[in-house]
Symmetry: C2
Subunit: 521 residues, 2 copies
């Protein structure tokens, strides 16, 4: 059944007619904040500042039930073929990124999941051996060549876990086909002391192959043998699956989508090199714990499910088109860019799983920068602009380094947290003022995900929390969150335009108009 046909949908449509106003006296109270929180695995979700009531929450849980969201999660983690559109040509694959990280805990007993987990564990052990070899050499730098999921997730984790980097080890990333990207990275490393991981599941990604050629060319010009430096992460049997060309090769599979692949070998090689195998294992353990929590916890305590439902309330019933994700942690600087892909590529869809055009909104626009920085940037619009922006904050009790300074009686970490809490309150409660320019309408929904400390295990949990939130929303909307047909047309047309630059002057009148504009500059 379609999302907008559920009984609970109709109920929610009615409930939104009498919306709660958080800015009214006596609505936002300490006891509301106390009551509206759930906690699992050391993560707390505070949602007293969302525009929901108990009735609304109940109807949202009905929606989860009617849509079979938790059953779909079971199907996903058991490796059923859920990546497809009924009756139309589509990918028709399982979705098993959860099997990339469950081999140190209770594994999913289904045959497909066990098989995927076994294969992933084999790669993990190969990586362990490679790292033993690498440790004996004097390698200082690793360069990851990849784009999209082969770049954003791994890069976000690398930046987030700088605190855990092994001394003297750095990573660099080349993603863009823009030649300045590769040039800039190559200017800053000594290739003779570097290993290079080339990541492309299909082994045919234009940007990645171009940048691989770029780096191979440089290695050869330096008199170095690329085979001593280059590592492949690719699909079995892909054009890149050629042991003759690489120092080592690692596999990924078609049941691991790029945007869900950070914990697989896609992120694994670079992470194992920079933070070590033990800390990489911690990421896997944390992510797997959260996967199991998403799978089997009580609906009312299920962190990613509750976040998904709150998001659906904001998106489909309060008509808010975007979601800002604001970590109060500089280490999570690039995490919103990863979530932008994970969420928007998964749920930016216009048809349901039967191929019918949806009559309701699906995935929102995801954006964000760390706080407190954002406070000095776009918060003006969030507080007083004409478009309302729901927010999900992320905060940590302790700083990563524990290296803090008391200024005027409080630490920087306390100042950071005070700002986080104050923003949550200010956005919800607002403040009346006779000067219209100092008037804050408030009633702007937000929630906070709180944890103790951003270590590798917590990072794994948070990563999986968002992956599973996105999956739950897709299940409830009845869309396929695991393909990305929307990226194809651009690729096809780019080839046509490229034909106008190369030797063979193909004809493509629209492209020619652009190329002429360029030439006449």
């Amino acid at each position: 059944m379609q999302f907008n046909r559920f009984k609970s949908y109709q109920k929610l449509i009615k409930l939104r007619e009498k919306p709660i106003d958080l800015s009214k006296n006596g609505v936002l109270t300490p006891s509301r904040i106390e009551k509206m929180q759930i906690e699992s695995l050391g993560l707390k979700l505070l949602y007293g500042t969302e525009r929901v009531t108990e009735d609304i929450m109940e109807a949202l849980f009905d929606l989860a039930e009617e849509s079979g969201a938790q059953d779909s999660m079971e199907s996903m983690q058991a490796g059923e073929i859920i990546n497809g559109i009924e009756g139309f040509e589509s990918e028709n694959r399982a979705v098993l990124h959860t099997a990339m990280r469950d081999f140190f805990s209770d594994r999913n007993p289904s045959k497909a999941a066990l098989m995927a987990s076994d294969k992933a564990f084999k790669e993990f052990n190969k990586l362990d051996q490679l790292m033993e070899q690498v440790d004996k050499k004097k390698i200082t730098d690793i360069i990851q060549i990849g784009i999209g999921g082969s770049d954003l997730g791994p890069r976000a984790l690398y930046v987030a876990l700088e605190r855990y980097h092994k001394p003297g080890r750095r990573a660099h990333f080349i993603s863009n086909v823009d030649p300045d990207d590769a040039t800039s990275v190559l200017n800053s490393v000594d290739l003779s002391k570097s290993i290079i991981v080339v990541v492309s599941k299909s082994g045919t990604t234009l940007e990645t192959l171009t940048n691989e050629s770029f780096v191979r060319d440089r290695l050869e010009k330096m008199g170095l043998d690329p085979k001593d430096h280059m590592i492949a992460v690719t699909g079995e049997g892909s054009p890149m699956d050629d042991p003759a060309k690489y120092l080592a090769s690692f596999y990924i599979w078609d049941y691991v989508g790029g945007r869900y692949s950070a914990t697989s070998m896609v992120g694994g090689v670079m992470l194992a090199f920079t933070i070590g195998m033990e800390e990489y294992k911690e990421i896997l353990a944390g992510a797997s714990e959260m996967d199991k929590h998403a799978l089997s916890s009580d609906m009312h305590e299920n962190l990613p499910l509750v976040s998904a439902l709150l998001g659906i309330w904001n998106r489909n019933f309060l008509d808010l088109p975007t979601l800002a994700i604001i970590p109060y942690s500089q280490a999570l600087l690039r995490f919103p860019a990863h979530l932008q892909q994970c969420d928007m590529e998964s749920n930016g869809k216009q048809i349901d799983k039967k191929g019918a055009v949806v009559k309701y909104e699906t995935g929102p626009i995801i954006w964000g920068e760390p706080g407190t920085n954002g406070q000095h940037s776009f918060y003006q619009l969030i507080h007083q602009g004409t478009t309302k922006v729901p927010l999900e904050f992320i905060g940590f009790r302790d700083s990563q380094y524990g290296n803090d300074l008391i200024v005027e009686g409080t630490s920087s970490q306390e100042k950071l947290l005070s700002n986080l809490f104050a923003q949550s309150i200010a956005l919800a409660a607002g403040k009346k003022d006779k000067n219209p320019n100092k008037n804050f309408p408030g009633n702007r929904p937000n929630r906070i995900l709180l944890a103790k400390h951003l270590d590798p295990r917590t990072m794994g949990k948070i990563l999986s929390y968002y992956e599973n939130k996105v999956a739950f929303q897709g299940f409830i909307w009845g869309i396929n969150s695991f393909d990305q047909e929307g990226v194809q047309l651009g690729k096809v047309l780019a080839k046509k335009v490229l034909g106008l630059f190369g030797d063979k002057k193909e004809s493509y009148p629209l492209g020619e108009a652009y190329v002429r504009a360029l030439d006449s500059l």
Copy 2:
């Protein structure tokens, strides 16, 4: 008169009833693309892929005229008091960032602008002298401590112009009150070879003062004298205006808003150190050229004004709540984050210049990441999602380094440009397909800003293009783009919450509820 009372507004409301559909056969043609472009100062704006007709453009120009947008630009650059709300307590200041960069060309003849320009030139000369001193010492690193406009714009320019960095010179930025931000930077530099620029106009910014203390503390622990390393950029007479504490001090003034201050000493000290005075001058010259173009070019050729009008069409008449700015240039990685502040903090307003609540939308949500990277991330939603996203692309004919590799007959730069053009076409034209999952509805508006090459002068032009676009939109909407009252409430409440952490246990029940959640983690 209010924006929605203009005759042209009513005309535009009518025109949107028969909107142009770019995905229809024969609408998007090469001649449309050829015709709908304007060029000045080596920058070309291509807008054939916007959903406009000649009638709509005409009505938009009427809107510019009726709203007196160009007169307001004249008032701004002449230093009239335009930063205010009539009849209410407000900042009541001039807005003269354009005077921070006009002293090598024809200066604005108004008294206020000349005075501001003279003062800025004095600072420029002081900077020149400081750089001569610095060149004699063995300084390798500069650390900029600042947040918001004292961070985002300068950082975006620094990253954009890496190609022009003087050998062996690097910059670092500490912005967030998160103690991990400062720790991470201090772990990566040798303070004995560093200078530190502390930037705060008010001299009271919480984050900046906290981080200054952090770095002073570290310098002292290393046995270094902060006065040999620290430079202040602040307002005359601010608490930071204390020559006894700094190696050098530079001034900014209340008529330069933080988000418009990148070309002033706020960005100047760091830029002069990293790219040299000559290249810094180039940025100023480029920005000033664009300021004059915004001021005095024919309305139909005015690049920032045309961009502003297209934005207003998308925002107020096509009801699109966001704008994605996508540079096809890795060097512009952090430029969208700067524009996020510049635009959203300026135009995220709910009242007009007379204090009346507006009945129309103002500034959109600005977001973006470089292409081609975005293609492998959020473009799925842009092509096939339920929310339409207008885009402004930025592209360059040549790469910065000119270090390129031919793979399969074309260079990386050609591949980059082919992708840019292909996306512009694909979004507008779409593609019908019987498989609903491969169907592209198209008709998604976008425009392209094209230039030859991203050098310092062009960077200055592009920076000013956006600053002036934002100002034009504010003028047309009749709002004050130059204050930021919306950031105050959060600051006030943060102090209250902070009181719960410090020695004096103040009472603030809402804050306490959050602190308890934290403590029980």
